[in-house]
Symmetry: none
Subunit: 401 residues, 2 copies
């Protein structure tokens, strides 16, 4: 019996409210003996850590650094090695495109080619979004009978392509040759399969037409296609857990990931206080509130240890906005580590606090990676967290007599 | 996606150097409150434990005592329950026989039979190696058309048999009846399969001929065959990890295990200082240096607590020879525990230190089983260690966007 089958079997109703606060990239590495989290002054979170269940979580498996997709899927209880979301689909989700099962998504890069058709610039001089939008509009004229095309601006030279209405395959090679001075590659089927061949033909025809439509433009006179991904519907949060869930997240990627699992995505300005106030405003309407704070990750990626510390402190200062709502289950954790000195996502386990009226306590003195080694949850896998949350919120019956 | 598929997908180049020091059977049990490792004075390893990632590892699964084969395969990242290396093959590897895919290997015991063909001594009085070699030479005269036979002395009454050139099965019963006063058993196919039947016939014909050739010898006038194992090639270290690896190990078994995964086996005299000096000599030529110290295990098997302590101290005293090379990733661990008071391999988790510039620290005061319970790695599985090493040496890209 897998996790979802077990949960489905044991699931029961409850009115308890869950706040699931994700500080993106929270986990860190020490500078002068202390990590970002250990350096930050966090009296509110320290109290939660002292009273609640605590530990560290491995997002995917030991040594594996997760992207935002796998990191969040694991937090939502979806095994990230089973539910693999392709780049094209993530890109479409990131701009909140209402992708459907069976859609084929790809990432578009606008590029510049010379009169011989060779690539001069793989990013078309990073054109501004405005030019990108105009180019997308031009491309939208293209028709191929029986297939619906959606072309949407992402940012700079990047756009999203979604095909609908065919029986597509995503076992296709990309057209970006990853170098200049050569023409774009054709899309080729990666497997000997009729669907893949047919999809490649459609895409090559589309690219030819794009080339024709853009031939008098500059610098964006060509497109490169990457990250083909067929969208397969995955079971929603409501189907798996019976939870009515909403996502309070300012950034497109996380809104996309939340909508992928069927959460209701709330319009909110990105920021600690604005997101916490939005939560307050919505309080009572949902069972599960996913609140996503981006800046712990972005400061980590920028290598800015001090800024990451201050973002953590900002979260702690505003925590009363959540605490006064008295959520039945309050979880604070991260999708992955982004140590400031590593300047990137990393594989290191992430801190977690789970506070409910049924939590055990390990008398943790400070919310931090080193102290949490002594927590009640030990070192667990992120994918198991949702089952624990279900239990703590009274939503799982006994297994077996 | 399994571990190897994931690693293949994420693997990237790096020049970082890894030293992988295995103190065979390092884990112990307390005598007067402290284990062998806890009793030993190990200032160098204590410093590494304080600075690096630490924990305990379960070699196979809880309660399972590994032989050297599974213990090392797990350390090398090969699931020992999936990659099962038969005894015949291990025996051939142990004497560095260049075994090939499709070879059938078995262990030979020289035995003594009486004039009625009944076994009098299952070990032929543990004949000296010299006699063993003479007997092997005699047996080598035997010819069976189409099949190549290799017969190699191992030690005392033990030899290795390797068959090459046929389409063999290893689903065969052994000929050792495990008692005296009865004749050796014939080889029988264990499954209803043509290959197994044919292989049994060849082996029975071979044994008949051996009996004939040795009939005037004493005490080694017969052979018993055990541990039939077909050799299946397993993916090499270079194929799985992209690592150019060498093995600095004085003992045949470990050289054999290293060659099984495609490491280059270095000629070296067994011993702490000689092996560490060999490492120094080779420094820069490989990505991954597997250094194997045998005496922690052999003193444990002899039940000699104090000798095991002094071997550990000898390693620590010589550790500067490695430290001064400044490996990017330095791992110290064990294939299994061999507690001196248990006098055998045991199932207890083994200590591990992993030091790199990306290690978290848990401020461990002493490298020892009890302290390591508070380490940053918690209690993990040995088979996951290589993925962590890949991450710490910059050899794994991010999983998913």
């Amino acid at each position: 019996m897998d996790r979802f089958e077990l949960i489905e079997k044991l699931r029961q109703k409850s009115n308890e409210k869950i706040v699931f606060l994700v500080l993106d990239g929270l986990g860190g590495l020490p500078k002068g003996g202390k990590t970002e989290l250990e350096t930050a002054s966090t009296p509110n979170m320290d109290k939660l850590a002292m009273e609640g269940e605590t530990g560290l979580m491995i997002p995917v498996s030991p040594g594996i650094t997760p992207g935002s997709g796998p990191g969040h899927l694991a937090l939502f209880g979806y095994d990230p090695l089973q539910y693999v979301i392709g780049r094209g689909v993530l890109s479409a989700l990131g701009i909140r495109f209402p992708i459907k099962e069976g859609d084929l998504a790809a990432r578009i890069n606008f590029a510049t080619i010379d009169k011989d058709g060779n690539i001069v610039d793989r990013r078309a001089g990073r054109i501004p979004d405005e030019i990108n939008k105009k180019m997308c509009e031009k491309i939208r004229q293209i028709k191929i009978p029986g297939i619906e095309f959606f072309i949407e601006t992402v940012k700079e030279h990047r756009a999203a392509l979604i095909l609908r209405g065919g029986d597509f395959s995503d076992k296709l090679s990309e057209t970006d040759p990853q170098k200049i001075g050569v023409p774009p590659l054709p899309v080729k089927p990666l497997i000997n399969d009729e669907k893949a061949k047919k999809t490649a033909e459609i895409l090559n025809e589309f690219v030819e037409k794009v080339k024709e439509v853009l031939k008098d433009e500059h610098p964006a006179n060509m497109i490169l296609l990457r990250g083909f991904a067929l969208h397969t519907r995955i079971p929603t949060f409501e189907e798996v857990y019976g939870l009515k869930a909403c996502a309070i997240a300012g950034y497109p990627m996380y809104r996309g990931l939340a909508s992928l699992v069927g959460m209701e995505v709330i319009d909110v300005e990105s920021g600690v206080e604005s997101e916490f106030r939005k939560l307050e405003e919505l309080w009572g309407k949902y069972d599960f509130y996913f609140v996503h704070i981006k800046y712990t990750d972005s400061s980590g990626e920028d290598g800015d240890f001090d800024r990451k510390v201050s973002v953590i402190e900002e979260v702690d200062r505003n925590l009363d906005l959540i605490l006064k709502l008295k959520p039945d289950v309050f979880v604070i954790t991260a999708d992955h580590s982004t140590p400031a000195n590593y300047k990137a996502h990393s594989w290191h386990p992430v801190p977690v606090i789970l506070k409910s009226k049924w939590s055990r306590s390990a008398n943790i003195k400070k919310f931090g990676e080193t102290e949490l080694l002594h927590g009640t949850l030990g070192i667990m896998k992120s994918v198991d967290l949702m089952t624990l949350i279900m239990a703590h919120s009274g939503r799982l019956a006994k297994f077996g007599a």
